[in-house]
Amino acid sequence: MFKKPINIISFLLLFVFAILPLVLGFGFAVAYSFGLIGVLNQGFTLDNWSALFENNDVVISFLYSGWLAIASLTLSVVISMAIAIFFHKKFSKGIYSYLVYMPLAFPSIVAAFFFAQFLGNSGILSRICYQLGIIDNIQSFPNLVNDQYSFGIIVAQFFLSLPFFTLLYTGLYQTERIDDYTQLANSLGAKNRQSIFRISIPILLKKSFPNIVMYFIFKIGAYEVPLLLGRSSPETVSVLAVRKLQKFNLYDIPQGYAVAVIYTIIILSLLMLVLKTNKNEYDI
């Protein structure tokens, strides 16, 4: 197995930086959630888990995180696909090909801050509406951040993921030779609409499916954007876990680790599913 010292080093690196943290972290969370370790531990108990499921908060939190991820992803996929189909030439070179990269320069926390300033009650959009006479005072502007529909979160996540998908689809548009297929379809008598819906979109969707699922996995764990633009209830998984583990109620800590355990199991199962079904490795 180890013919050369470099292989031993490589294996050790992989073990120390990737495998060990995962095993240690997951092991710690499991042990804590079952009362085996921790400040208040009294030996093995299922109390923390049953307490966690006494109300629906956790289930809602997972569903809410999933919904946010799906909503922002759907927006990004639809818009970026439209860009690829209609504007692929514009975005492959020139000024737009630079502009589309802009959000890539934004850390999540900066994007969240900007949208708070842009969409908030006293934000830029509200001021423009006031100046245009659409609203007559600050209260009549609808809540777009920390709102019950999570509008702000979805918009911010959409903004952050749009360049990623635009790059993906404009790239796929060329490598999958969508233009050739469309011309072929048209020569067989398909109308533009038909070739878009029957050829271009299905090909792009199929090819990008692993990427979409990967992005979904990342977005479920999103932290900064929901932290700044979300409400205190419902909370996303990351925000919930941090609240339970970082606040000073010691009884909450085992429950926080239980949340981490559920999250890890869900994510890793999803990941295994994508990597197994996808023969080619996901390209990052």
Binding site: F17, S97, P107
Partner: protein, 259 residues
């Protein structure tokens, strides 16, 4: 025909504006004072925010430096170690299984991962200091780098190595004279990406750093919670600056590669 053309152009303009507005807004806000509703532009433009934060005890320069040191270290280690390890995985019998193991830590939410690892960091006295944050961020950036490079070690690179060997060169000679030069641009891209992973990181840094290590993202969060939007905007500008420069370079030579 001409109406659809116009519609298309309006859409493009909207997109362009939505890409640019955030940067311009943050930039303006960083030079502003007194921005009362309903004025669209601030009442006062000033250099005060910049001069206070940089020169009069605002402590933004140290944060910038700390972030830079952390990001450069993480990028350097992750790229270097990832390059070595990826070769081991790529040519391994159990390539697929090892690769999946590498994906695991990378796919988890950094903040939740950090919460699960915090105990060990406390035990090793690695909380609240720069070393601890570098190590913690490496746990995310290293797998990224490994995954990034596994695609590089394909059949062709293996053939180059074999060829050098039959021409009489050692493995290390092949590595220095052929493999490294071929991988050079990829290594640079990976370095940038790992730099950005670290530069953008907030959740994990706040938990392992205990808020004691004030990186730029931590500063932004502090200013936001203090409701000081002008200082927050200024820190945001500092955060955006290096990636904008980096992306420009990065994209430029990606295009050149493609040519």
């Amino acid at each position: 025909m001409s109406t659809t053309f116009k519609k298309r152009n309006i859409l493009l303009w909207l997109l362009a504006i939505s890409f640019i507005t955030p940067i311009i807004t943050l930039f303006f806000l960083s030079f502003s004072k007194n921005w009362r509703f309903p004025a669209i532009l601030p009442q006062q433009f000033t250099l005060d925010n910049w001069s206070y934060l940089f020169f009069s005890g605002g402590n933004i320069a140290p944060s910038f430096l700390i972030s830079l040191v952390i990001a450069l270290s993480v990028a350097l280690f992750a790229t270097l170690l990832g390059f070595i390890t990826s070769k081991y995985i790529a040519y391994h019998k159990y390539r697929k299984k090892l690769l999946m193991l590498t994906y695991f830590p990378f796919a988890l939410s950094p903040v939740i991962f950090a919460l699960c690892l915090k105990y060990y960091f406390i035990k090793m006295s690695l909380t609240g200091n720069v070393q601890g944050i570098i190590l913690a961020q490496l746990i995310i950036a290293f797998p990224y780098s490994v995954i990034f490079f596994t695609g590089f070690w394909n059949q062709r690179i293996k053939q180059y190595e074999d060829l050098v060997s039959t021409l009489g060169g050692t493995t290390s000679y092949a590595f220095r004279k052929i493999v490294m030069p071929i991988a050079k641009s990829l290594i640079l891209v990976c370095f940038f990406q790992c730099f950005l992973i670290s530069w953008f990181e907030f959740g994990l840094t706040s938990i392992i750093g205990y808020g004691k290590v004030e990186t730029l993202t931590i500063k932004v969060y502090q200013f936001i919670t203090e409701a000081n939007i002008f200082y927050a905007a200024l820190s945001c500008c500092l955060l955006i600056l290096p990636p904008v420069i980096l992306l420009w370079f990065n994209k430029k030579f990606i295009i050149q590669q493609a040519k």
